[in-house]
Amino acid sequence: MPWGEFKDTAAERRLFQRRTVVMLLLVFVLLSLLIARMYQLQVVEHDIYTTLSDKNRVQVQSVAPPRGLVYDRNDVLLAENRPVFSVTLVPERVGDMEQTLAKLQGMLSISEEDMERFHRRLLEPRRPFQELPLRYDLNEQEIARLAVHRHELPGVEVSAELVRYYPHSELTAHALGYVGRINRQELQRIDPVNYAGTNYIGKSGVERFYEQLLHGRVGYQHVETNARGRTLRVLERENPVPGEDIRLHMDLRLQQLAHELLDGRRGAIIAIEPSTGGILALASVPGFDANLFVTGIGVEAYRELSKSVDKPLFNRALRGQYPPGSTLKPMLAVAALDSGAVTRDKTIWDPGYFRLTPGGRPWRDWKRGGHGWVDLTAAVAESCDIYFYEAAVAMGVDTMHQYLSEFGFGEDATLDVAGALSGLLPSRDWKRAVHSEPWYPGDSVNLGIGQGYMLATPLQLATATSVLANRGNWSEPRLLKDIKGDRSIDDVLPTGNHQSIELENSEDWEYVVEAMAEVMHGSKGTARGAAKGAPYRMAGKTGTAQVFSLAEDEEYDEEEIRERLRDHALFVGFAPVDDPQIAVSVIVENGGSGSGTAAPVARAMFDAWLLGFPEEGEALVVGSSEGASH
């Protein structure tokens, strides 16, 4: 039909206009609603949103303090910080997570573990727009590759942080310990404020003990950020207080020498400066690269380290508990003299065996046929077991326990060596409690030559030797020498609480020390070979510790079994005799005899410390000895 014809246009127009008015009313009402809403938000609730907006705009970010550095006594850097780049993802900004991860895998090598850890963290609750680390320690090429493809990887960031680095890690891992990523248990423990922004914490050794000192104090910055958490502008900043730089008593050269001396073997060397108690060297061989543990070691690499029969992760120096054997004799000699169990001129006949009761079981001397007539000096110098069997029985367990504990056995006597074990100093009560048996005289006999229940760590042996060198004066072993800042070392180093050992007759010290010098320089001294040609006098004592069993789950070949069943070789000593500069204890596992294996190592340490370090290529060990094994 044609337009407009037969239509009541006027009526239609009026109808339309009525409807328009209705619509106009609707528009008014709805616009008023919008205006009311705006009024509500902008005027009535203005304060609420202003607060919200300010909170949005200004975020308080923590600024992690740089960790304090660690130096050796000659200011050689042992622990530093270096920038490490890692790749992180902000899930909120990553469009297609799977695709992004696939792309990244094409650019970087990402291990299964990294992937698993990332996916695990993805599921854990976290702050909005928080970066999740995917892989640490990118190399230059990887950083470059990421930079090139950056535009096609939204939400992927490369972030730098300062990470602990140990330039001489293989040498210092056991002495220094290492830092690692803060784990869940540690999170419960630490001050959440001071550690905001810090990812690493001391896990062992110095790093752990002096954590608070090395960590420093967190700083803040008020920053304007965007919703992505990207900092746009720093409004105000309170700088963090960096961790203190510290200096250890350790001498890296001595530490290195210790490692070289034990190279290819298993064992530990501890060197202490008797006058200060400063630990000059603390070596446990084989060592390991602590840097692997800082950013997290791979499962495979870790398995290799922990399964290795040489136990590189095991800190023999502080945690290896061995029967001290004959190295205990000097301390027992002091005890025997002071308690009156023996006198200086007491001599005994050593037929090669000892019986508690006539016809009872014999305890043998290591030397078949015995040493003949021996006094205390000879008993020490030639390591006569029979003399000490008798002395031990005469003293009894209580006296021995008393004196040995004064030398620091049975406890961790160190001031700041984290993780040092306390060994085992048996007593009547201990035996009753642990074995539900009384203490038998036979137990005393065994203790008399440092066997039986007694266990000591190399560090404890070095400590006791150092006390001996000091003629009874205690100077507890310590790693920390000083703090580079203006903080006093007294604030952080625990104070020692050991009483000096007071003898009835202080001359007894010299007597025992001379007996130990006899070990080195006497015509019959067990370690006379190791002291040949020395321009100074030294004191020492050799020893062996029996190996009782092999771990059952380990496989050995014939050769290895023979080797691993050999006794551990031990040596303790100090030099020079009259003005002790250095006290050492050495253990060479399965090394055979203390005189043949351990004593030359100690001699090399003495020489280096007193006469100067050997030049490159010089022989380290002066002629090893013949004959005696104790």
Binding site: K7, T9, F16, M23, P128, A227
Partner: protein, 380 residues
């Protein structure tokens, strides 16, 4: 409010120039002025919303220029042209929508674009915002008004079929606007109040059905988020919380141009597209908001006046429907940003960054100007 007097004044005294020139150019000076004011203000806000990125503002300026040209082109055409072309355009639009569903080019999991070789990519759904009301007006104006039930049914079908096709893309915002345009035509045509009541009754039944059988999860999420934005402060609720914070922190007179922290610190997503109102509210405060809404109100008043004085039913229905669609834009966008309505992707007309909707809107104003300037002078 001065709107009423404005309404009357603009009736008798056009703002400038002799009427003849404007008629010759087919421009309605009042509407033109209001639109230019809106566009200019929009660019100022956009400069801030886009983080002072001049390139964005320039691009938008170019688009607005193009949109103005489109408007003028449409204004030159006689309304009868739209009427004659309506069925063909409608058929083409339906075909386009079908093609999009079959071979469309997607972005973010939604297919909206049609890439025809030799032509710029365009969204058929955008075109339907104009074509649906044209078609409905064409159909209804052929019969006596008020329309009978079956005419209403057909007219609603004209609106609902494309609406359904657009929902499938899925594009909730556009389908809403297309559907609304058709329904407004029916309303202006004089559908009886009883039917309107019945219609609302139907909607209230259909809504739950939609919820369970039609709506996608992300759409449901939007509705739920609207009801409780705190429930998902990082996902869907983030935008709303942030935009409310932006608006609320603006206060009475705002933080000042370019001083909005919410938008510049990137807390506010899409601060130069759908959420640009929040930038304006933050920087120009309640006063700025009021100014914007009054400006929109004036545009709507002028357009409704044009509709009311149009000379034939087709023109009236089309003008009324286009005007109300424009209003829906405003209401849905501002309602969404201020947390009154769910988040549906509706831009703030002529202010948000983006070309397609601006061109469509200006084309609609072109149609209105065409209706206004092609009136045959019968009697004053």
């Amino acid at each position: 409010m001065a709107a009423g007097s404005m309404f009357n004044e603009s009736l008798r005294h056009p703002l400038s120039g002799p009427r003849g020139i404007w008629s010759f150019l087919h421009i309605d000076p009042v509407l033109m002025l209001l639109l230019l004011a809106l566009i200019a203000g929009g660019l100022v806000v956009l400069y801030s919303g886009a983080d002072q990125n001049m390139a964005v503002v320039k691009a938008q300026g170019v688009r607005m220029g193009v949109a103005l040209v489109v408007m003028l082109v449409f204004a030159q055409l006689d309304p009868s042209v739209f009427r004659r072309w309506a069925p063909w355009l409608f058929a083409a639009g339906i075909a386009g929508l079908a093609a999009v569903l079959l071979v469309g080019v997607g972005a973010k999991g939604a297919q909206r674009w049609l890439a025809i070789p030799g032509l710029p990519r365009f969204q058929p759904s955008e075109l339907m915002k104009l074509v649906v009301p044209m078609m409905a007006a064409w159909y209804l104006s052929r019969h006596y008004l008020p329309p009978r039930l079956r005419h209403v049914a057909v007219a609603l079908l004209i609106a609902l079929v494309p609406m359904a096709m657009i929902i499938l893309q899925p594009d909730l915002g556009t389908s809403l606007l297309v559907g609304a345009a058709g329904i407004f035509v029916v309303f202006f045509a004089g559908i009886s109040w009883r039917l309107i009541g019945a219609f609302f009754a139907m909607v209230s039944v259909a809504a739950p059905l939609m919820w369970f059988f039609v709506m996608r999860d992300y759409q449901k999420q939007r509705v739920l988020t609207l009801l409780d934005p705190q429930s998902d402060p990082l996902g869907a609720g983030w935008n709303i919380i942030q935009s409310k914070t932006a608006i609320g922190s603006g206060g009475m007179d705002g933080k000042g141009w370019l001083q909005g922290t919410q938008s510049h610190l990137e807390f506010l997503p899409e601060s130069h597209t759908d959420f640009i109102v929040a930038v304006l509210a933050e920087e120009f405060g309640f006063v700025g908001m009021l100014t914007l809404l009054v400006l929109y109100m004036l545009i709507i008043l002028r357009c409704l006046y044009i509709a009311a004085t149009a000379q034939d039913s087709f023109s009236r229905l089309l003008a009324g429907a286009l005007t109300m669609t424009f209003f829906i834009y405003v209401f849905v966008n501002v309602g969404m940003v201020s947390g009154l309505l769910p988040v549906v992707g509706v831009p703030l007309p002529l202010v948000s960054y983006g070309g397609t909707s601006s061109v469509t809107l200006m084309a609609a104003f072109g149609v209105l100007m065409s209706i206004q300037t092609h009136r045959r002078m019968i009697s004053a």
